[in-house]
């Protein structure tokens, strides 16, 4: 009961409500703009959160996360371009339905299923995060090491890209985290005599570079691309018939999305793809999928928004990001001096339940904004890239510079922008780099501390039941893409 009251706290704070309002609005705008998204937006807004108290800062980031994930659907339906990667599956049926003159119906279903998925996942978060945190009390250094390894091996199954390429990108991310003074012995590593590198490579320059700057370079290759926009008159709430057709799909996808979100390193993109394919598998009319199926939209959208709450579970309970955006939120927590983990649940329940409540309200707010303002948000996509991206560049440069007031950070951001562009061009996802970077210190630190505990005996890792379980799960995660591809080959 007390916790429920704590969850309602944001409703009674005008400051938090204002933060939620702007966060949701900003998140929607970011979600609508192809190439941007909650990860880039969160990274860019991170310096501004320094002017806020910790709760307001995290509420701002989480509301951007929730609304940004939904916002991608608007562009997916109206211009057949996902505003965020998580909305890619929404294009498959959203756009064909819009082409049939039913854009309002498609967006109505996307809005309702996103809201239901989002709220469902917050409920999961409220129930499961404390349980996971309680479990985490049993974790020592070896268990955290095994858990981090599990998170990294999950990279093998991110998206549709090559599992090995994802693992290379993840290993590269960890390698970046080793730059600077070794935190245990103060020995310089990969600093090449540059003083600014002794502090290591910051998270923000890497994120902004890999997401925003690499996207700017991608957009430079698409300047002659013409989008076929579909006019939107008004969003329509789903009809009784639509609800009858989709309620099971929405609930199933909400469950799938929340579960996928909880898995370390997975996120909305994977959730929406699985939610979509499961909706097709269970549908009475699978032949309609890809031609404007309302179930397809519901399946994808409920799943990607459900992943938001799910991804917050390991982030808050264990300090292991559930997705790229939660990696940004995790950085926000650390910057504000909040250490995620089991102690957070015991010592700062007001803070934690404030976040849960804010996420719940953000889901309701984006429903209202989306329902009444989708037409306006859709117009944002009319801003030409030749004006939009130079402006994003100015904000990215100043945002990156502002955190440490270091020009080197800006150059690092540009370097990662170029690197990210070529990585994406040759099929390497940039998300694993972010996850690797954020988990790098944990992996190395826990490994070295475990070896001290075990007196250098590596085999001792396998004598700890929880650690052993995570290692077995890691092996399954590594084998999963192989099994999946064999299954697909067999089917063909």
């Amino acid at each position: 009961m007390d916790n429920l009251l704590l969850m309602l706290a944001p409703l009674f704070s005008s400051k938090l409500l204002l933060v939620l309002f702007f966060g949701t609005l900003f998140g929607l705008i970011l979600g609508v703009l192809p190439g941007l998204g909650p990860t880039t937006g969160g990274a860019l807004i991170l310096p501004f959160t320094m002017t806020l108290d910790p709760l307001s800062a995290i509420v701002l980031l989480t509301s951007i996360y929730c609304a940004g994930t939904y916002g991608g659907a608007i562009t997916a339906v109206l211009i057949n371009t996902p505003g965020t990667p998580a909305a890619a599956a929404t294009c498959l049926d959203g756009y064909p339905l819009a082409q049939k003159g039913e854009a309002g119906r498609a967006l109505g279903m996307a809005t309702v299923s996103s809201t239901v998925g989002g709220i469902f996942s917050v409920v999961i978060l409220v129930f499961f995060a404390p349980i996971l945190a309680q479990l985490a009390y049993e974790f020592g250094q070896p268990e955290y090491f095994a858990l981090a390894i599990f998170g990294l091996t999950m990279l093998a199954s991110i998206g549709e890209g090559s599992p090995i390429k994802n693992l290379i990108a993840g290993a590269f991310g960890i390698l970046i985290s080793t730059v600077g003074k070794d935190f245990m012995t103060s020995i310089d590593r990969f600093t090449f005599g540059i003083n600014e590198l002794t502090e290591g490579i910051g998270f923000i320059p890497v994120v902004v570079g890999l997401f925003a700057m690499s996207e700017m370079l991608t957009q430079s290759t698409l300047i002659n691309q013409v989008f076929n926009r579909i006019a939107l008159k008004a969003i329509k709430l789903p009809s009784k018939d639509d609800y009858k057709k989709t309620w099971k799909t929405i609930l199933r996808s909400s469950g799938i999305g929340s579960f996928i979100g909880v898995l370390p390193a997975e996120g909305g993109t994977v959730a929406s793809l699985i939610g979509y394919s499961e909706a097709k598998r269970f549908s009475k009319n699978p032949e309609e999928f890809g031609k404007g199926s309302i179930e397809g939209i519901a399946g994808a959208e409920a799943a990607n928004n459900a992943a938001t709450g799910g991804a917050m579970v390991p982030t808050l309970a264990l300090g292991i990001p559930g997705s790229a955006t939660t990696a940004v939120i995790l950085t926000g927590l650390i910057i504000h001096g909040v250490r995620p983990g089991p102690d957070l649940f015991r010592e700062q329940p007001d803070f934690l339940y404030g976040i849960f409540g804010a996420m719940l309200i953000a889901n309701i707010l984006f429903f209202i904004f989306g329902f009444f303002g989708a037409k306006i948000f859709a117009r944002i996509t009319l801003v030409p890239n030749k004006i939009l991206w130079p402006m994003i560049f100015a904000v990215s440069v100043c945002g990156t510079y502002s955190l440490n007031q270091s020009i080197i950070d800006v150059w690092i951001m540009l370097f990662f922008g170029v690197l990210g562009f070529f990585m994406r061009r040759y099929g390497f996802s940039v998300v694993p780099v972010i996850i690797g970077l954020i988990l790098g210190e944990l992996v190395e630190g826990t490994l070295r501390q475990s070896l001290v505990i075990f007196d250098g005996n590596w085999l001792m890792f396998f004598t700890r039941p929880i650690a052993l379980t995570f290692f077995i799960l890691s092996l399954i995660a590594l084998a999963f893409p192989l099994i999946r591809s064999r299954k697909i080959k067999k089917k063909q």
Partner: protein, 168 residues
Amino acid sequence: MKNVQKQKRANKSLPFFFRDEFRVSLVIILVSVALLITTFTFDIVPPILNRGIQPATFPKALLVLIIVMTLLIYYLATKNPWKVEKKLPGSFFLTLSSFVIFVVVSKTLDFFLAISALSIFVSYCWGEKRLFYLLLVGIIFPIIVFIFFETILGLRFPPGLITNIYYS
């Protein structure tokens, strides 16, 4: 799907050193080997201060892992070639060169000037010819951003030709 197959076939017909999978793998391996060599220059900690493993051990293991996995993707690519990517347009190279110009100008002349120059250059190269919009993205917007960051975050931008005038 057919298009991808066609692109893959086109890739297979190229000599191996022209194929993307060879070039990309080679670059990753060369960089990894160079970094691996660098790890041998890291200081060695005396046993009494050594916590678990030497500071160089972990990066070394990572680099070896990256090299092994890269060899594996190359081996797999010989069986299933990557699709040939389209040639990059001139606008890409102009945008890329604007990054270089930005670094040079921000280092030698002025941070604000660098942002302004890049914004105008990129906008123009991407097809914006209207003066008002060029001024908007190149001067008006960066000024707003500068003032915003300075007042809200109390940020002090690095000294330079224009920034010095502003601060004086």
